[in-house]
Every structure is written in C-alpha cells, then in structure tokens.
C-alpha cells in the first residue's frame, strides 16, 4: 500500500506534531539561541550583547577551574557509573531470582529515584552532617567530623548518593533484560554441562547486552551533567572542591556574570558528553546478539 507524501505528512503531524513542536520550542530554539550567545560577551542582564567571535571558546580552554571541574566530573562519572551498574545488576538478579516478596523489593529499590535530586540531596546532607556525626561521636566518644567537610569525603558522598539514587532505576532495565532472556536457553546450557554461574555469564549476560548498553548510556549522560544533587548535597563545598562541570557552568554564567563564557563552556560540556555517550552506544551495539 503506497501513501502519498501529503498523507504521510498529515499523519506525522497528527501523531508526532505536538511532540515535535514542543521539542522544537524547548530544545532546538534555546540551543540555537544559546549557540548565538557563545559569540557574545553578554553579562546576562544588560541590554547590549556585544559580538566577540570565538573569544569565549578561547577563554573556556584557558579556564583552569573549568577543566579541574571537568576532570572531577570525569572521575566522579567513572566511579558512579561502574558502581551504579554493578549494584543495579545484582539488585536485578536478586529480585528476579524468586526471593520471597520480590515485587516489594523492586518497588523499594526504585523509590529513591522518585524523590527529586534536590530533596534527596538535603536529606542526605542531614544524614551526613547530623546522623553520622552523632553516631560517630557516640561510638568514639570524642570528636567526629562530617564526611562533607573534606574534599575526598564530599566526593565520596556524592558518588554514594548517586549510586543510591540511580541503582534502582537501572535495576528496572536489567530486570527487563533478565525477563527477556528465555529460561529455556539457560536450562539448555545447564543440561549441556554448564554450572549455573557459567550459564549466567556465558549465555544470559551476552543476551542482555542491549540492557547494558542502555544503562551505561543513561548513567554516563546523567552523571556528566549532574547538578541537583551537587547543589543540595555539597553546594560545591568545602572550598569549591566538589564543584562539578555543570555547576561551574552555572556559576560562570549567572553568579560570575559571564554569560557568554558560561554558555561556551556548556557547549563544550555538551560535546564531551555527546561524544562519550555516542561512542559508548556504537561500541556497545556492535556486539549485540540475539537468541
């Protein structure tokens, strides 16, 4: 059945039209306008937007603090992504292995993801600053300081909270992956002489590859642009040692009033994030197999 082009356009507009218009308005237009702003030295409030060419990009490459934040973000992302996925995978394994009340556990592990990042950050800030300190004091009987007061402690806290937040979400994708692999294949492998864990690693996991690709993509992109937890949990403290790339971009644009420079740094962050994400998906997709 052949359709005329006008029919196709009509159908597209009917089903995807509102979505396209919204996407265009809230993503494409601001993005293009943002690109334009990278070529100006606008301070964010004045009426004049002087054109400066590529000066902002040159400055962005010279902004040492930005690249420190970028490096910090990379370290944070590597640890968080690996831990999120390991934890999520084992949670998924646990709640598909037939333990009693597994639906309850599934819901329970997923709940942290339903709390907004800001609220979650404040809750954990309270836990780190008050609860843990009080427990520490009770145990040692002396002075106990908050994890959030030292640079490495703050980083650790950020990673811990991110893992706690995202593991439940990624778990759902892994659960779907486990469910999509037919029990028959695993049984066949076990009949052929595999142990249970051998069947798991050599049969089930390769068949779940698409779940891994998805989870890695989601966790990498989310970690790279983390802002809400960063803001409410550490606010960049102590002494600016936990400022992630996104927070630095925000500060640069709105607090330090270098809107153009901040925007240029945001574009660079976007490119880095896009390159890492797309490469990972391409590499991951290559080896996908189907049963």
């Amino acid at each position: 059945m052949k359709q005329k082009t006008s029919e196709k356009v009509k159908q597209y507009l009917m089903f995807a039209g509102p979505g396209t218009i919204l996407f265009f308005c809230v993503v494409v237009v601001p993005f293009v306008y943002g690109l334009y702003l990278t070529f100006t030295s606008w301070d964010g409030v004045s009426r004049a937007k002087p054109f400066v060419g590529f000066q902002n990009f040159a400055d962005a490459f010279k902004d040492k603090v930005y690249w420190q934040a970028m490096g910090r973000t990379a370290i944070y992302s590597i640890f968080a992504v690996i831990l999120i996925n390991i934890v999520a995978f084992f949670l998924a394994y646990l709640v598909t292995s037939g333990v009693k009340g597994q639906n309850f556990f599934r819901a329970g592990f997923f709940v942290p993801n339903l709390i907004g990042g800001i609220v979650l950050g404040y809750v954990w800030q309270f836990v780190f600053n008050r609860a843990f300190v009080a427990i520490g004091k009770a145990i040692t009987g002396g002075a106990a300081t908050s994890l959030l007061a030292s640079p490495s402690g703050a980083m650790f806290a950020l990673i811990l909270v991110s893992v706690w937040q995202y593991a439940g979400y990624m778990m759902l994708i892994y659960v779907a992956g486990f469910m999509s692999v037919s029990k028959d294949v695993q049984e066949a492998a076990e009949i052929d002489g595999c142990t249970h864990s051998q069947a798991m690693w050599n049969v089930t996991v390769p068949l779940m590859r698409s779940s891994f690709v998805q989870c890695l993509f989601l966790s990498i992109t989310r970690c790279f642009v983390v802002y809400d937890v960063n803001l409410s949990l550490t606010k960049g403290e102590p002494f600016g040692s936990s400022v992630m790339a996104a927070m630095h971009v925000y500060n640069q644009a709105f607090t330090y009033k270098n809107y153009g420079l901040g925007q240029a740094e945001a574009v660079i962050l976007f490119l880095v994030c896009a390159i890492v994400g797309v490469t990972q998906v391409m590499v991951g997709k290559k080896g996908e197999v189907a049963a």
Partner: protein, 418 residues
C-alpha cells in the same frame, strides 16, 4: 471518523497547552510582583501582602523568594525577560542592573527622608529597605554568668582584650566561646570587605593590590583583622570541623548562652529570636589592635528595592505607592520596624527599634560611628575570596597563602563602575 477524533484530540492538546501558558487574570487589578531576597522575612512579607491587598483592593501583591544568590536570580529573570515589578536586591546590584532596568524615582516623597538612597548618574534608582551593620554579636548574660562582673563591650577593643576574655570564658567552663560561619558570603563578602572598608580609600587600596604597590600580606589593617580572625577561629565552638558549622546552630548557641560571640550582623536577629534568646544580646565592633578601627560598626543601607522600567505604567505606579506606604503610613512603618525587626533607613520613622541587635546598630548610627559599606566588589568576589577563606579556616593554607590567593584574584578582577 477515526481521523476526525484524532484531529479533535490533537486540537484539544494544543489548546490545553496554549491555555496553560497564560494564567487567569483578575479583571482591573494591577499585579505587583515583589521579589524578596531576605529569606528570614519571607513569611512576614507574605502576611503583609495579604493585609496590603485588604486595604488596597485594586492591587494584587505576589511575593517571591529564591534560594539562589540575588545577582544570579536576577540574571535568570532578565535572561528570560520576565522581571519582577519590584525587586529587593543588594546595593551592588543597583549599580549593575539599575542603569538598564531601574525606574528613575527622583522626586518621589521618600527620597527626601533618607541619606541611604542609591543614585546612578543623578537618577535615584535604589530604595533602601533597611540599615544593617556587621560586627561581633555578644551575649552579655552568658559572659556575666562566668566572669561575675558587668560586661562592657567598649572595654573589649583590642584583639588582646578579646583573647583575654575568651580565655576567661574557657577557664569558666565555656568550651568554645566564639562562632564563625563557614558561608562564603560571611567570610568573603562580610569579613574580607571589612578590610577594604577600613582603609582610608578602599578604591585606591584595591588598585594598589592590583598593580602590586600594596602588599596585602604586609598591610597593617589586614594583619590586625586576621589576628582577630585567628582568635575567632581558635575559640570557635566548631573548631573541630569549622566547615560543618551550621549557621542556625551557631545562632542558637549564642541565643542560649552556650557561646558568647559570633561574627555576623543584626540580620541574625530574625533567626535568633526563634531560639528563645536571653535578654542582653548586642553588637560591638570587631576588635582590632589598631586604634580607631575598633570603635565603629561597618554597614549602611542594605537591601534595595528598584522598580523595573519595562513593566506597565500602572504597575510602576503601584510599586511607587507601595514604597511610599512603607515610609509614610503607620502600617508600613510598623511592618518594617516591628514585624520584620529592621532598622529603618528613613528619618521620619521614629518607632523605637524592637530588637536588641538593631538597637545596638541604631545607637552606633546615631553616634555617627559607622564605616560605610564598600559596594563595588565584582560579582564573583564573595564566592572566590570566600573559597580562599574557607581554605584558611580549614587550615589548608596559611595567612601568606590567603594573601597570595586574594592578590591573585584581584589580578584579573575589575571593580564595578561607580
């Protein structure tokens, strides 16, 4: 048929979207949006808005607050072309935003009643909401309980006096008699700026740091202030983890007499009053070994209202009426002085200041013992210098390192136009 239904559904969705864009407007009412940047009076502001609407039925008052810094929040509002009619900002924001966005209020009745209004290029742009000052907050009751003698703040002038008193308090059983905030604005904007403000000519001093003719590490005012900072730091009740100090905890301890001193200002009262404070609290200048510097508080007009010049004439008029209401009507004055416990910046307001910290400030103002605010530090000054101070507070760098970092900051920073 199916197609028709789908079409109707789509139309319905699009209309719903369009409708949600514009909020319902009450007919013939002028909407006065007010941005409040004093977190501690947000609930008072909201209650005042209700009462104001009762007496001014044709005005719809909406009060907003943001936990962002003022300058950052204003940037986002102006970047999205959605300004407030009336915005409460810091003095420096009047200089940066005012020329482009603020309405000229020259000739308004309130202008004649204050010395604290901000004018740029001969136009009156900023309405002073209150007078605030920085210094050392003390709890005289707590001190007298331990020393057994009447506490006279004027007798604690030098750093050595201050340290001696702290020693006495520690010996008397008060573990950490002082409190220091870890917030970058308290360290970078309040403490560091006192060092500029105490100079004879702050502009020349900063220019000197920039061109190298002033060595910050050798500057007598800097060193005298840092000596006092070291005392505050050494006797800090949160000495073990100064960067975990929670502002409200420190204020509570001061209110209840567990500590005796805190670096801060009269704005702390709005929190302290909730902690059932003891009777004799007050403010005194930051002790300093230098004669003449330890007898004055630092401050002046604080938090300024400006009216946006792009909103409708009715909204501008409503905003002007509101400002004059604050200054000239009994309800407005009562709101400023009693409800919000602020020190008013207007000579015609004669209501007695209700809180002890404000009363201290007013006594220094009346005696002319005030050092003026320095209002032209760049927007990133408090954040970046604040970070250096936090490092110093956590013993990551020493005083020379702090001076180096501040000097390095000024190498690229530019003071605001004035």
């Amino acid at each position: 048929m199916k197609r028709a239904i789908a079409l109707i559904l789509m139309l319905a969705m699009v209309t719903a979207l369009a409708l949600s864009g514009g909020s319902a407007y009450a007919a013939n009412k002028v909407t006065l949006t007010i941005f409040n940047s004093k977190m501690e009076i947000q609930s008072q502001m909201e209650e005042m808005a209700e009462e104001y609407m009762d007496t001014h039925p044709d005005v719809e008052v909406e009060v907003y607050y943001s936990s962002d810094t003022v300058a950052a929040h204003m940037s986002t509002k102006y970047a999205s072309k959605d300004p407030y009619v009336l915005s409460m900002v810091d003095a420096k924001d009047i200089f940066s935003l005012g020329p482009d966005h603020a309405l000229d209020q020259t000739g308004e009745p309130w202008v004649a009643e204050t010395t604290q209004a901000i004018s740029v290029d001969g136009k009156v742009l900023g309405f002073p909401f209150c007078v605030e000052a920085r210094g050392i907050l003390y709890n005289a009751d707590a001190i007298e309980r331990i020393t057994g003698e009447a506490f006279d703040p004027a007798a604690v002038k030098t750093t050595a006096d201050f340290q001696a008193l702290c020693d006495k308090l520690v010996a008397g059983g008060m573990e950490g008699p002082t409190g220091l905030q870890k917030e970058d604005w308290s360290l970078g904007a309040h403490f560091m700026q006192e060092i500029y403000e105490m100079q004879d000519d702050p502009d020349a001093f900063i220019a000197g740091i920039k061109d190298g003719s002033v060595k910050l590490a050798e500057d007598p005012v800097f060193n005298a202030m840092m000596d006092t900072f070291d005392v505050l730091k050494a006797y800090n009740w949160m000495k073990q983890a100064p960067l975990s100090a929670v502002r409200e905890d420190t204020e509570m301890n001061l209110a209840q007499g567990k500590i005796a001193f805190k670096f801060g200002g009269n704005w702390d009262w709005s929190d302290i009053k909730d902690f059932d404070p003891e009777e004799h609290l007050g403010m005194m200048p930051v002790p300093s070994a230098l004669e003449g510097y330890n007898e004055k508080l630092v401050g002046g007009g604080s938090k300024y209202f400006f009216i946006d010049n792009s909103v409708s004439a009715e909204q501008q008029q409503a905003a002007k009426d509101f400002l004059n209401w604050l200054v000239f009507e009994e309800d407005g004055q009562n709101f400023l002085v009693n409800t919000c416990a602020l020190v008013p910046a207007f000579g015609n307001i004669t209501l007695p200041v209700s809180d002890p910290l404000g009363a201290s400030v007013k006594s220094y103002v009346d005696a002319g013992a005030m050092i003026a605010d320095y209002r032209y530090a760049p927007d990133d000054h408090y954040a970046k210098v604040g970070i250096s101070f936090q490092k110093y507070l956590a013993d990551q760098i020493d005083r020379a390192g702090l001076a180096d970092e501040i000097t390095a900051y000024w190498a690229t920073a530019e003071v605001g136009a004035h």
